[in-house]
Every structure is written in C-alpha cells, then in structure tokens.
Symmetry: C2
Subunit: 343 residues, 2 copies
Amino acid sequence: MARPTIADIAQRVGVSKGAVSFALNGRPGVSEATRARILQVAKEMNWRPHSAARALGGARAEAVGLVIARPASTLGVEPFFAQLLSGLQAGLSAQSVALHLLVVEDVEAEIEVYRDWASEHRVDGFVLVDLKARDPRIEALEELGVPSVVLGGPGRHGSLSSVWADDREAMLSVVDYLAALGHRRLAHVAGLPAFRHTQRRMRALRDSVRRLGLVDAVSLPTDFSDAEGAAATRALLSRARRPTAIVYDSDVMALAGLGVAGEMGVRVPDELSIVSFDDSVLTRITHPAVTALTRDTFALGRQVAEVLLAVIADPGRRQDVRTATPRLVVRESTAPPGLDRDN
Amino acid sequence: MARPTIADIAQRVGVSKGAVSFALNGRPGVSEATRARILQVAKEMNWRPHSAARALGGARAEAVGLVIARPASTLGVEPFFAQLLSGLQAGLSAQSVALHLLVVEDVEAEIEVYRDWASEHRVDGFVLVDLKARDPRIEALEELGVPSVVLGGPGRHGSLSSVWADDREAMLSVVDYLAALGHRRLAHVAGLPAFRHTQRRMRALRDSVRRLGLVDAVSLPTDFSDAEGAAATRALLSRARRPTAIVYDSDVMALAGLGVAGEMGVRVPDELSIVSFDDSVLTRITHPAVTALTRDTFALGRQVAEVLLAVIADPGRRQDVRTATPRLVVRESTAPPGLDRDN
DNA sequence: CCGGCGTACTAAACCGCTCTAGTTGCCGGA
DNA sequence: TCCGGCAACTAGAGCGGTTTAGTACGCCGG
C-alpha cells in the first residue's frame, strides 16, 4: 500500500476517521482500549501524518523561519553565524521543529518572504537577525502577527520578543581594561554601520573617551570582511600617531589585523594590543592568541529557539531576555603599551 | 479580509474556482480576456497560493532537506560546511526553493527524519553529506524513492545522483609537490576515518610512498577538531625522526598544527612544511600563510543544488557530476626541507 | 436544419486531516 | 419507569487548492 491514511486505519480498526484522529492526537473522545488498538494499528501500518493536510486545517507547521539578507557567499565566513545556527538547531530539534532557512539579497526581499511563508503556513514563527536602525522588518512582522523573536536589543523592536546581550557594557569593559593597562590612543575596526549593534558599540567607545580621559578613540566602519579589516588596520598603523590598541568587531577581522601588524613589523602585543569582539577557534589557535570577548553563541542560539517556541505556544506572551554580557578572556595579544611612544 | 482564497477571487470576478485555478496556473481552459481579468484581481487582492493546499493535491513542497548527523556544536567551526550551505542556498533560492535544515545525533535518527519528511511531503528531495563506508542512508533513500544527491563519490552511491571532486588526485598532487621539493618523510593528520573521503586520501598517500620512493608517510586519524589536530601534531613532532612536511585534512587543524609548531620551536617552513586540504580565510590571514588545496566550496554547493533541482524536475534522470579537482595554492608554509636533517 | 466539434466555462469530487454537531447506549436518580 | 447526563463514538463539513466530468454555446459542413 502506498501511504496509509487515517481512513485506512479507521477501516481496519472498524471505527470512524474522527475516532482515529482523536486517538492519534491524544485527546478525549475515545476509550483507552480503543485508543490503544488504534495506536497499535497505526504503528503496524507505519502511518505518518501528512504535514500539508494538517497545515490546511490550520495546525502548526512545526517549523520556524530564518531569513537572512546578505550575499550568500559571506554567510560561510562568519563563525558567529554558524555557531548561532547550531544553537538554534539544538533548541529546535529538541521539540522536533525544523528550521526553514533562506538567504536573500536585501531587506525588501526578506519581508516578501515573511509574507509568503506566513500566509502559506510554512512556518510557525520567525527569527530576526542583523537588526538595523529603524528596521522595516519589525513593523512587517508585527503586522503579520506571526510569533517572532528579535536577536538584538534592547528596545526598538516593538511588540516582538527579543533576546539580547549588552553590547554597550561589553565595549565598556574592553575599554576599561585597555585604559587600565595604560592605553590612551584606541581604535575600533567596526562592522557594518547600518547594524544597530555596531552603532551601539561605536557610541559606547565615544562615551568612554571623556570618562576615562583618553587621547583618541576612532571607529572605522567596515563590511566585516577580512579584506576591509586588513585595510582599516593598515590605515590606522600608517598614521603618524598610531593607536596602541585596536578593538575589532569580529574575529576574522582581528586575525586579518594581526596579519597586517606582522607584515608592517609592528610587534603584538609589545607595540600594539589587539582585542576581538567575537571569540571562536580562530582567536585561540593563532600566535599570539587573541584576547577576546567570549560568549556562548551556541547557547545564545538555543535560547533564541526556546523563546521562540514559548511565544509560539502562547502568542499573547512577550519575552525580553537579556543574556550574559560577553566576558573578556585575556590571551597573548594585549599588554601595556610600549613606553617609548609619546602617549 | 484575512487571506484571500481563489474562491474569493472567483466570486469577485464572477467565475468559478476552477476557472481561477486555470488562469493562475497558465493552463488552457479560459479565454485571454478572462485570464487577464483574473490575474489582475488576484494581484489587487494580494492573493498568494497556500502551499499546504497545493501539497495536499500532490504538488511540490518547494523545499529540499538537508539533515546532518553531527553534534550541533561542531557545525559552527567548519568553514567548509558553512560555505557549502551558502552555495546550496544560492542555487536553491534562484528557484525560490527553501532549505529544510535539521541537525541530529546519529545516522539512525537521520534516516528516521528522511522517512518523516518524505512521507509528510515536507520536501521534494534530499542532499546527503558526510558519506561513510557502507552507508545505510543510501539504501534508505533509494527505498523511499525521493530524489537525492550525494555529495561525495565516485561510485558506491547506488542509483542516487552525485556531485564529487577527486580526492585521490588532489592528495597525489600535494604529495608530488612535496616530494619534488625534496621531502621524503611525510605525515597526514586525517579527519574521521569513517568518512569515505578520509579513507580515499589515506589510501592515496600510502600508494605514493612506493611510487615516489618516500621514506615514510603516516596518516593519523582525528575527529577534525583543533584539539585533536594539535595533539596529533605534537605527537608527530615529538618523534625521533620527525616528518618534514605535514598535510592536514582541514584548515582548522592546519592552523592548530601551525600553533603547535610555534610552541615547540619548530620553524615553518624552514624545518616543517604545512599543507591544508581545505582552504578558507583562515589559511590566508595567518603568518605564515598556509599552502592549501583550494576549491570553490560555494560553487560546489550551488552545483549540488542545481543537480538536485534537475533530478526533482525529472526523477528518471540520474546525474554524476565531477567537479574540478582542488588546486594547490602555494603560500608561505611550504619550502624544501632543511638540509641539516638525515632524510 | 441538424449533427458534430471545439472553446469556455461550471460543478463537484478529491487530497488527508481536524473538529463540530449529532447520535447511541448505558447508568443513576427521582 | 422515565428522564437527564455522560462517555464513546459517527457523520460530515471544511481547509484551499487541482482536476475531471459535464454543460452551454457558437460555428461549421453537409
């Protein structure tokens, strides 16, 4: 037999389709004896629910959507992203919920996909990443009324739930540490300026200048690529008064910066301290190993999954989860600035 | 109005549901005038097809499945994997086909998911990765009769289509190059021995020993992690007669090896040459930059997507695509062996 | 003037499941 | 003895499409 349906089971057991449906979904309306018999026959016939048929009736799709607006080729080079994905997976697969993944060109296309998937009942909810300033996606998702979780915050994500870490505080802890070491001339190789977390980090750095009496603290925006990270570093180290410490918004850029320092004969950490805002294998396996802000990205992903599942289960609820602030792990790339320079 | 259905359109235009269906699917049975009118109204009402309803009728799910049997936390550290995913995405999204992604614990669970998704019509086809020796998944997929593409080969994937690169030839090209430089004592820090491509590489290396008159060439299996890569390197460099060149099965392990060499005071490339079997940003941004076999993993993923879509479109067909053999890119980590050693 | 045919359309069955409104039979209480 | 109430089940509508069988109509040839 091709694919058994509940009608087949009903016939075999000698009850109606309805009874079979009740039994299989564990709801009242059938006696225990009948339920057991139905379950057994269903098993014997190797019956499986047809997800489309269920979805038609308005039930769960048992899947959530993640749509990313980036050129697909850059997805692969971000360890952060891959880790996040793993965590999401882990959280979702615990409840056998699948992840519908799609990479699109831009935010407009992304919103279009939200509309499609929501109205087609393909997914039960969405995860929103790469939050931007005045992000139109928030409004779109609110309008659709589909349970969603925003990765990033706090604030400015309307009625949607969110999971976030405190970027500002993290940046402050880095700057505090570098200042305590004696650094007065800092630089920040930032990520895409459109991203809200990039902006927050830049602002935190600017705010620190006065507070700690720093001489200088510039932020250079990039596109997160190793190429632009290297270029920014080259520019910074070519200045008459170079920074004595550079903070990078991603591990890949930090390594690129480390490479440029080597190529220009600038010794790390003696002449230049380097800190990465993201941690991964990369920062650990190089020499010198890079001081980095570490956070459990895998756990973050899992947490996002859990919040999303909770919101799906109870759409009225709204959660705003603050995760642990990234912790600074000091390795070999940071030290007090060399004394031979006029800072 | 909530979500317009074809019945709504039919009513508004003043025709039957059937006519609307014909018009929207571009099939004969309606006049051009009526068709145009229906299309216009559909657009006005912002109608979208309900995928579940279509799937019920036996149509495509417009999604393909990728199930990976690995601990979810390791997924993130493999640049290869992330790149592949990007490429798959690119190939699929060109035809608006989504990717259903799930990470499971083991191969048995993986097969179970294939059964579920196939019988639930959740996906139209599968991508099979991490091919193992005598892989039970192949048989399972053949039995299900769902279009599938195996990444890896050649041979031993039954009636399924495949996309593969010649690992053997790639390994030979590396060994030839090292031998030509004068290396006679090689080592290979391999990946998981259960994987078929690992086995093929190990065999290719063994075969080269006689052919090129090498003194020694060992393969040490690992689990692909940076930790085991480092441990294997430490073991190799602690031998009385150390290898003068090590080939690593992944870029992460190559970097870990590079780190161990530094820590043990073994100069690269003067005393030790290092080659990575995988290329990514990582091998480029370290110092010394690592000589690596490079291939366009993104393109590989896209190719897999294309083959899968072709097989879905025409299930009778079977494709066996051989992609370009990885090319050796020589960087700073390889050189002739030091002359002070007895090799 | 009639039969035959092609075009443009309608009505309704169907896909597999869920869920509501009945229906049946049994039990207990007045 | 009769009725109400409950548990256990049935019948069938409905979800939003696709598809098939059928119908109405106009046009053609003989």
